[in-house]
Symmetry: C2
Subunit: 190 residues, 2 copies
């Protein structure tokens, strides 16, 4: 496939990818058409072939993010070979605490900040949260917590995950890892 200019955005997917990169780096205000075009090494002509306008890109980013997050939750919360519930919860927690996916975290926080001010974003986050809280509640319920208690623990679980990303601690990394480990133990009881 040969393209018009020297560079190519990689089609619609390329624009979405650039959108997520910009979102991760600077929040939704950073998702701008000409900025994305420059990032992709093209001009904005192609953008307007794929998307009617900027809001359509933003909607596409939200839908993409929402569907992707929901798609991975069941898998992330499934117990491998009937392992202890606490182990499954710890594995899930470690996905976030390990700092192994800074881009994913940055996108998540950017979307959540956006959701504080825009209905469509809030709806996407609500859908993701609903599913996640249900899945993690189910895990806590398997630890014989009553439904309300299970839900509250799932709520605390996710609040911690996102909240700790917002705290700025200037302690040693090793100390912070220990602190998070202690919090993890408080959260999942192991």
């Amino acid at each position: 496939m040969e393209t018009v200019g020297e560079a190519s955005a990689g089609g619609r997917a390329g624009w979405l990818e650039a959108g997520f990169d910009a979102l991760a780096e600077g929040g939704v205000a950073n998702v701008r058409v000409e900025v994305l075009a420059k990032r992709l090494g093209v001009t904005k002509g192609g953008f307007y072939w794929h998307f009617r306008d900027r809001p359509e890109l933003l909607s596409a980013l939200l839908a993409d993010w929402r569907d992707g997050r929901i798609r991975t939750i069941d898998q992330q919360t499934s117990r491998l070979g009937g392992e202890p519930v606490a182990t499954a919860l710890r594995r899930l927690l470690d996905l976030y605490l390990g700092r192994g996916n800074p881009r994913g975290t940055a996108i998540e926080l950017a979307v959540r900040d956006w959701a504080r001010r825009q209905t469509e974003a809030a709806d996407a986050v609500a859908a993701v949260d609903r599913h996640r809280l249900e899945c993690v509640s189910r895990l806590f319920a398997q630890m014989n917590f009553a439904p309300e208690q299970a839900f509250a623990r799932a709520y605390l679980f996710y609040a911690f995950i996102f909240g700790q990303s917002l705290l700025v601690c200037d302690r040693h990394a090793a100390d912070m890892a220990r602190t998070r480990e202690t919090c993890a133990q408080l959260l999942v009881g192991e």
Copy 2:
């Protein structure tokens, strides 16, 4: 005091106030000179009398916020008449959970989002967090937790406060209040 035009920004403090309002509503990208001027019912001439440029306003907002947050922490974490520690912690937690200060919360979250991308903001947040974590650690230590455990609990305490603001739950308000109450009990043990 009569002023030049019909409207008056209320001096430097007025501009800072407008800046905080804009910050609360739309994050740091929303803090724009002409937008603030319009909000105050004046033009931007006076802004440039008080501030050299936009970055100077942003720095002032950060310093103001940091100093204000630090100033209130000791008072917020002092135990009234030797009351139980848990009571003091609950009172502190309720400042955030009660939704009684949406503007303060919005500003706090906007500053924290800003801090993810800008050093000066991150430094301000770090200073506030350091002080808060120390004060709340001290309270947990009075409950006879070891220093590391006390700190971890303080960390979890604040992570929960900010994290729950980022979650979007479409359950009934009464249900959510009950959930938060359960989380509060898990956090302070009462």
